[in-house]
């Protein structure tokens, strides 16, 4: 408990991180309760197409007369959902790879790291595009595609942490009393190896949201759901006459990603105070 309160104290000192946390809180709240408080179907034609923001439509309507505010609120759900799920999946896979490679070393390390490097070499967005296009766009395939291209960096980091920890006295002690490997890995080393991984994973949510927006901009998003990238793709056709239509969802992506990055950096400073950059 005391650990958490010092953590909070350190986090609070970083003004950018606090601003990021507040902003992110607002976006999360909009995603959770927004569609309930403003129950307009984002696919419904509710008025004349391409209306600028006004009293009846706070953010205007799109090319098909759909309510942009409804799209923004529902899009927040998709962005955050896919961002969090993809980075969770990437973290689990990456930590598993990194932990095994770092703990056992030798040929296990060689094999796992060759696989990791292989995935680092493939242009990641291209691979994501190929995966989504082949398995048909849906929340599941988009999430999986983003996870597939994101896990290698976690694997490298986790491996480094495990290598640093495995020679420590407490690990030797665990071995001496005959503790099984899985227990050492999961219960003893993991808690010590996790802080830097948490930072990278939280920053990865931001990258995942950017990737998702790029995919759905290209038309590779779930066709049954409105997302911010999709809204930009639709609005692009009327860029000349109604630039605000693509400006609004893009600004939402920017604000959300910026907030996550600020929080991630705040976490980094709070969790690893010694590594703090000047």
């Amino acid at each position: 408990m005391r650990g958490l309160s010092t953590l909070w104290m350190r986090f609070r000192r970083n003004r950018g991180a606090v601003a990021g946390a507040v902003t992110l809180g607002l976006v999360v709240a909009a995603a959770l309760v927004g569609p309930l408080l403003y129950p307009v179907d984002p696919f419904d034609m509710v008025g004349q197409p391409a209306q600028p923001p006004s009293a009846s439509f706070l953010l205007g309507t799109d090319v098909a007369g759909r309510d942009i505010l409804a799209g923004i609120l529902n899009g927040a759900r998709i962005s955050l959902l896919i961002g969090v799920l993809a980075s969770l999946a990437a973290t689990v896979v990456g930590v598993a790879f990194g932990a095994l490679a770092g703990y056992y070393g030798g040929w296990v390390d060689d094999v796992l790291m060759r696989v990791t490097e292989f995935f680092l070499t493939i242009p990641s967005f291209v691979l994501a595009v190929v995966v989504v296009a082949i398995f048909q766009p849906s929340v599941v395939t988009v999430t999986a595609a983003i996870a597939v291209v994101s896990w290698p960096s976690v694997a490298r980091l986790a491996r480094g942490e495990f290598i640093a920890q495995r020679g420590r006295d407490y690990v030797q002690g665990c071995r001496a009393i005959g503790m099984p490997d899985w227990e050492i890995i999961l219960l003893q080393i993991m808690p010590n190896a996790l802080p830097p991984v948490i930072v990278v994973s939280s920053l990865m949510v931001a990258t995942a949201i950017l990737t998702e927006s790029g995919l759905s901009f290209l038309g590779l998003g779930d066709p049954n759901l409105v997302s911010w990238g999709y809204m930009i793709g639709v609005a692009r056709t009327v860029l000349r006459t109604s630039w605000w239509m693509s400006a609004i969802p893009g600004a939402m992506i920017l604000v959300t990603v910026l907030a996550i990055n600020l929080v991630g950096e705040g976490l980094n400073d709070a969790l690893n105070p010694k590594l703090r950059k000047r």
């Binding site: 242009p123 595009v129 296009a133 950017l210 692009r236 630039w243």
Partner: protein, 326 residues
């Protein structure tokens, strides 16, 4: 020493081959998992196709053979640099790729140079003024740009520079119908290149700026900088001749890694600006299930990326002679 470098080069070149082959294999099997093939698409385009006709097409293209046989036939051809034929466009894949490759390479190289140059200048400027308003301003800008989706940034740049100010073209690579030649043509391409290259580069400018700033500050803490100051060298000379060279390594590493990512970014940027490059071709090939073309592009692009990483390794040795390739 020279011999060691040569050996290193040969060994790295030999390492490239299995990596590229593995990427091709992964792509090959991944793409075959897709429902529907080029025979379906072609039959669909002709309208009145029967099942027999579709089957006949498959036979003609060798798509009726077992997968492993198709794979070995493809790999066998690849070893002689035969990338096959795009069945949809009835053109050898290599012709289609070579037609688009220059446009993408111009875009990517311009972006890399722009990103590294701007990132280094801004990063050094921020580090030299650590803690001042200029430093904070640069850092905040970098943070904002780093959070901006590149394709959206491109659209907003079009709004500003093409629609509102009307000073730059909003898309394409040349002025259509102008029929320019020689220097005028090159100038026209450069004119059209400004917005897409800036769009693709800005995200990386943000990354390099942050990295360069951190790296410079670290070098500033080292003894040889203190010595240089004690010798009475000007701060400008210290920054640009002493510190820069040492602080540049992480930026070079990252530039090599990100060359591959630029290709992904160029799919988006080429879409936004109608730039006639490989990125656009990948996307079209994917939608049309033109697998031979797609495999060919992925092969060429991974070869480019892996080679870029090799070049980075070599630049490394130039920047820091202490790095001996073993």
């Amino acid at each position: 020493m020279r011999q060691a470098s040569l050996l290193f080069l040969v060994r790295r070149l030999l390492q490239i081959v299995p990596v590229v082959l593995a990427i091709v294999a992964l792509n090959f099997f991944l793409l075959r998992m897709a429902p529907g093939d080029v025979a379906d698409i072609l039959a669909g385009q002709m309208g009145h196709a029967t099942a027999e006709f579709t089957q006949q097409l498959r036979q003609e293209f060798g798509l009726d053979r077992p997968l492993y046989q198709q794979f070995f036939i493809y790999m066998g051809k690849l070893l002689t640099f035969d990338l096959g034929v795009s069945h949809l466009q009835q053109t050898p894949v290599i012709v289609l790729i070579l037609d688009r490759l220059p446009a993408t390479l111009i875009l990517m190289l311009t972006s890399v140079v722009l990103a590294v140059a701007l990132g280094v200048v801004l990063g050094v400027a921020a580090a030299r003024r650590e803690g001042t308003i200029a430093d904070s301003l640069i850092s905040v800008l970098a943070l904002v740009v780093y959070a901006t989706p590149a394709f959206w940034l491109g659209l907003m740049l079009i709004v500003l520079f093409s629609i509102k100010l009307d000073i730059l073209p909003s898309g394409g690579m040349i002025q259509i119908g102008a029929g320019l030649k020689g220097a005028a043509y090159a100038l026209d391409v450069a004119w059209h290149l400004i917005l897409p290259a800036a769009t693709l580069a800005l995200f990386y400018v943000a990354i390099y700026t942050r990295l360069m700033r951190a790296s410079m500050l670290e070098v500033y803490g080292l003894d040889f900088i203190v010595t240089a100051r004690a010798k009475g060298l000007s701060e400008t000379a210290i920054a640009w001749t002493h510190a820069l060279r040492n602080a540049l390594l992480p930026v070079v590493t990252l530039a090599g890694v990100q060359f591959g990512h630029l290709l992904g970014g160029s799919i988006l940027v080429e879409t936004v600006f109608g730039w006639p490059g490989l990125g656009r071709l990948v996307f079209d090939a994917l939608l049309q299930r033109d697998l031979n073309l797609l495999l060919g592009i992925l092969f060429v692009s991974s070869a480019v990326v892996v080679s870029a990483n090799l070049v980075v390794d070599l630049i490394y040795g130039l920047l820091d002679p202490r790095i001996v390739h073993k």
